[in-house]
Symmetry: C2
Subunit: 331 residues, 2 copies
């Protein structure tokens, strides 16, 4: 069983009577009903050695751990309100904490998102080595009743969109792993995308009442799109030539472009659907939010995700969503 | 700097304008204002090798990780509504997950608290050994506007109370560490208190409008009481002979009794204050909740916490709150 099947098997339950939960496990956020307003809530656990490298710059890390949560709130179309921070630290290092909190709170301040509480502990020793630096953030956003996006509303015939550009974070990771070479300017550009992703909060809000489904791309476009398809019970066709890629990524071999942009992960862009009649409103939302949006395909009957070349022929796409428990892919 | 000073220094900020946060860092729960209702929110990070032993029984662990959060919700006087679960697992072990979710969801069901979302990942390797099993839970409870308990409302002259009995969990830990011996019956009793604490949810709710301050005892009575004193700007005098101890603990030497009951931690009982005029209402709340409550002292002018013997003489109490970053105490 993979990660998603494990969660579904052991932890998916119907909400208890009288609970506030209208939508739970299976979306970027859970949705809590509090009368005229609803709360979107998300939680992310980030571990040194898995989600970020040992010795990662603490200020960038502070930014990123909150950014990935704000990206989930953006996917739900909610306005960030507050967050909770749980930290396990290998040591009580004041310099590290000062830089981490600087990066964290600068992003929080920009989005008016208050650090409301948390928990701090020391990472245990594994043999004689300290356990991994661990950060768990739970973030809450507010959304008017009924206005939240989920993954479940896409309809056959809807357009499929993605914000920004895809694949840069994966390219930066490949570069750091030494499997590709970039010039200085490209390297700086893609590393910024990996280390300091910009959550698409304004776009998520602007798409209220426009998008029929929405999620953030964190595990790779095709795998994440499969979640929208499964929840919405539709298929999707993605036109490869329209998938937005940065100049840096476009300078890479086409195979690397496809791997990074279709299955790279860590993009934190919004993937959403809207009716063809709403094209003008989608563009207006993108303009309002100051974020580029690309129409990359459409939703179709069925349940499969297909990628086509410029002649409409199916591309072979051996890329799946990132599964934390799967064996590593063959090189 | 200790854990509390680190948090205060780098992470305590006033709430952003328009945020929902009425009370943040420094109480068991943060309090969010949503019109006529308020939400109490708490987050706890629990790590194998620090908060629980490697190889801990997964069903008991599932119970405990939620119980410690429900205890925080109880301290605020809130009704548990839902929670979020983030897990880092050394492996995707279906048997372990089945038992863990059984313990977790049985307690959740008893309190009508819905698992609303979460995050699952694989613990990274530290050299060749898997990193620690890590559980982060964020729990949300509901409380009528203005009815939540905080640590800040105790007044000089108030009575000081604690629920249940203190020190059993610490005694169980000492037994497992081999520093004391218990007979079979006592061992079973104190281990149950350590492994399956019962959050005092009904008592917390029954004390709405009665308690002037409230928190849960998780780091040891005296250290936790010092938090009430600091937040309320009062002192406290605890009468040692009235501190409730189980029969098992009372069979231990008096020094062990004091260490366990005054500074043991992991008790998950409610520590609260109320006006002397409210004594009958406190007893009624305890009866309603089906939980014993003991009056163990009173709040006084000043800021010090003192423990007295049955003659009113000050006891030497070298016990402080558990500090995750402090050097281990001398044996």
């Amino acid at each position: 069983m993979n990660e998603f099947e494990l969660i579904a098997r052991y932890f998916t339950r119907p909400p208890a009577a009288g609970s506030l939960v209208v939508a739970g496990v299976g979306d970027d956020c859970a949705l809590l009903d509090l009368g005229e307003r609803q709360l979107a809530v998300t939680t992310d656990l980030l571990l040194e050695g898995r989600h970020f490298a040992r010795g990662a710059d603490p200020e960038a890390l502070g930014h990123k751990v909150l950014a990935v949560n704000l990206s989930d709130l953006a996917a739900a179309g909610s306005t960030p309100r507050c967050f909770f921070l749980a930290l396990a630290l290998p040591a009580a290092d004041a310099d590290w904490l000062a830089a981490f909190s600087r990066g964290l709170l600068a992003l929080a301040d920009r989005h008016g998102c208050t650090l409301a509480g948390g928990d701090t502990t020391r990472a245990p020793l594994i043999d004689t080595r300290p356990g991994p630096l661990t950060v768990c953030i739970t973030a809450l956003g507010e959304v008017p009743r009924g206005a939240a996006h989920t993954r479940a509303g896409a309809r056959s015939g809807d357009d499929l969109y993605v914000s920004g550009a895809l694949g840069d974070a994966a390219l930066a990771l490949a570069m750091r792993a030494g499997t590709c070479a970039l010039d200085f300017v490209d390297a700086a550009a893609v590393q910024a995308r990996l280390d300091r992703p910009e959550p698409r909060v304004a776009l998520g809000i602007a798409l209220r009442g426009v998008a029929t489904s929405c999620m953030d791309v964190s595990d790779g476009l095709l795998g994440d799109l499969a979640h929208i398809c499964a929840r919405s019970q539709v298929g999707a066709v993605v036109s490869w030539s329209t998938v937005p890629r940065s100049p840096a990524l476009q300078r890479q071999p086409v195979e690397a472009q496809q791997r990074c942009a279709l299955a790279g992960g860590d993009d934190y862009e919004l993937l959403f659907t809207a009716a063809p009649a709403a094209r003008r409103r989608v563009l207006a939302a993108a303009r309002e939010a100051g974020v580029a949006v690309s129409r990359i395909g459409s939703m179709v009957d069925g349940h499969a995700v297909q990628v086509t070349d410029e002649h409409g022929r199916a591309l072979a796409t051996p890329f799946a969503a990132y599964d934390h428990f799967a064996p590593p892919p063959a090189p």
